[in-house]
């Protein structure tokens, strides 16, 4: 035993098939960490939207898809989940195929959200979910 708190770290190709795989990985980790009920429902939705955003937008100007990474860890009673890519960053896109619902749903589902554009390319989105006293109103 190293004494280090458990952490989930997964990197997969930025393709649609990775969406359920990463959602299930995070769901399993979160359940082990004590998340249940509404918290689990909320993070399943938020992670799915964040991973899908990376897949749809990050590598649109690349010849082949890059990767999307998810890191999850428990810190001071909160589950923090980071979804990151190494794509084009937060550039506007006039040919967006989505409805623009991803970020609003993430904001509704998570207790806190931080979006950061990486130097050198890519977006890092960090979401926090309070495991102790999560407001039941988050998705209601």
């Amino acid at each position: 035993m190293s004494g280090e708190p458990p952490e989930l770290s997964e990197t997969l190709p930025a393709v649609a098939e990775s969406v359920p795989r990463l959602r299930r990985a995070v769901t399993g980790f979160a359940a082990e960490a004590g998340a249940s009920g509404m918290v689990l429902e909320s993070l399943r939705l938020a992670v799915t939207e964040a991973v899908t955003n990376a897949i749809v937008h990050a590598y649109v100007d690349h010849d082949s898809p890059g990767t999307v990474s998810v890191i999850a860890a428990v810190d001071d009673g909160a589950l923090r989940i980071t979804v990151s890519d190494r794509g084009r960053g937060m550039l506007p896109r006039i040919d967006s195929p989505g409805l623009g619902l991803g970020m609003p749903l993430i904001a509704q589902a998570a207790d806190a959200v931080d979006v950061h554009e990486e130097t050198g390319g890519g977006v890092r989105l960090t979401m926090s979910f309070n495991l102790r006293a999560r407001a039941e109103a988050a998705l209601s």
Partner: protein, 118 residues
Amino acid sequence: MTPQGVRLDEPFAVDVSRLGSTTSIAPSGELDAATRPQLQAAIPELGPGDRLILDLRRLAFMDSSGIRVVMTLDVRSRAEGWGLAIIRSPGAVQRVLDLCRVPERVRTVGDPVELESM
């Protein structure tokens, strides 16, 4: 299992049935970017007087990919003159529909009996 008794690990599938002018489409499992094409492929061509019922009671999960399908069907139904209704699921799937205010656009019921007057 969800509180509604839907299995989270159920593979995605789409059941399609037709009775007269009514087509019912019932996806099960998890609807996301990976499975959306499967649902879209199951939607038939419809014309004036037809109706499509999207039965979401067997869905264990849905994200905005599902909202995109519903909103596309809503636009099509209005343009092509056929009816559209949703049978809702009481859990997380319905909350996503509510957050996106879908019931304000598309008739949404809890019990198929309510559709008899549609």
